[in-house]
């Protein structure tokens, strides 16, 4: 059976459209690249200065001075290009990235996101996250539904915000949630899960969609 992370990455990938420019955060979001549907061609942006990034390079395959934003040596596709940080964030802030997929510590009913800092505990810095969630046309949060049972989808975030009112969609192993002006709309649930069960693991109030669908999951 697929792991929670695989289920989430697979579902996010189903939303990508042919021709999309996407930026995938470090960790779970990177796995989205493994599930891009057949016939869909996307261009992956890496904020340290690549459009057209391919996979992580194996030993001996590394290109000179080519890494991803996590510092791993990567390969690039034919037609790729490199640029400096000002151009890279011009592309991001300027709305030239269609979809950014990021993890979250907390996300709330208004689409506020906390993803970069736990004061006193984890203070690595925001890197490119604040620019990405402000600039990308669509912000998808890919996260496990809870942090070991502690709710992450809240009425109001309690950790410092990475950005306010920026999230469009939340994909977890249990469901898909759309952020609307009215609040969080539960649009899809995983097979074998009920809306009540999802609500029980969510602090925010979910509005169950009239068209509640079953979430696509990876084939066994």
């Amino acid at each position: 059976m697929a792991s929670a992370k695989e289920i989430i990455a697979y579902r996010v990938a189903q939303d990508l459209k042919d021709g999309d420019v996407i930026n995938l955060g470090i960790g779970l979001p990177t796995m989205v690249a493994n599930y891009i549907p057949e016939g869909v061609e996307v261009t992956i942006q890496s904020e340290n200065g690549i459009l057209g990034m391919d996979r992580v390079a194996k030993e001996g395959e590394e290109l000179k001075d080519v890494i991803n934003s996590g510092g791993q040596p990567v390969l690039v596709n034919p037609g790729a290009c490199y640029f400096d940080s000002a151009m890279s964030f011009g592309i991001i802030r300027g709305g030239h990235v269609d979809v950014t997929v990021l993890g979250a510590l907390q996300v709330d009913e208004k689409g506020n996101l906390a993803s970069h800092v736990v004061p006193g505990k984890m203070v690595p810095g925001m890197g490119g996250a604040m620019d990405l969630v402000v600039g990308a046309k669509e912000v998808i949060i890919a996260t496990t539904h809870t942090q070991k049972g502690v709710a992450k989808i809240l009425k109001e975030i309690t950790l410092p915000a990475t950005a306010v009112k920026c999230v469009d969609k939340i994909v977890t192993e249990l469901c898909v949630i759309k952020v609307t002006d009215q609040g969080l709309e539960l649009t899809e649930i995983a097979p074998g899960v009920t809306a009540e069960e999802v609500q029980a693991q969510t602090e925010a109030t979910l509005i169950v969609s009239e068209n509640l669908k079953t979430m696509a999951v990876p084939a066994e």
């Binding site: 340290n48 200065g49 000179k64 001075d65 080519v66 400096d84 000002a86 925001m126 604040m130 915000a161």
Partner: protein, 219 residues
Amino acid sequence: MKNKIVSVQEAVSHIKDGCSIMIGGFLGCGTSELMMDAIVEKGVKALTIIGNDTAYVGVGAGKLVCAKLVKHVIATHIGTNKETGAQMTSGETEVTLVPQGSLAEKIRAAGMGLGAVITPTGVGTDVAIGKETMTIDGREYLVEPPVRADVAILKGSIVDKAGNVYYEGTSKNFQEVMAMAADTVIVEAEKLVEVGELDPNYVKTPAILVDYIIVGGDK
């Protein structure tokens, strides 16, 4: 033509106690390790370093932090170097975290003679604390002041003897904007070539911005 090619010792003489340094590179990719080693050897104190990150323990800008030469880090991310976090927690080193796109623009603004940049990034977050905001066409923006430095330390993949620089792959990162925003610009040439050998089409940093060249690579 002025001779810009100097020894590492001469280049490092421009790094003085208390000065601010921009360090090109992204997790060490594009950082002049020759200059980092020379600064550690010289033991300059109370530096302010400005760059994307503090790389790793023993790599790039991380070397300066680990040698306790740094009083203030201005960066977008310090999570890859546990020593920076430890010094921040103990209060030894001040750390200012800046969104990556805003840092690039703040440096660019300094280098391009602009009084500030006005960006939506950071609105409603801790980054906005103490900053002026502006509303333009109904959208809120932060006014981000420019960031300059006394010295920029860069690494070029190919540098000609006049100081024109080409950067390979993702080693470009912050280097192009940094080259414009410091009083003194030092470039490590991974490969040094004669004037005329670097195709003008590939020049990313014009020679007029470069003050000193040190020879790296295989010499």
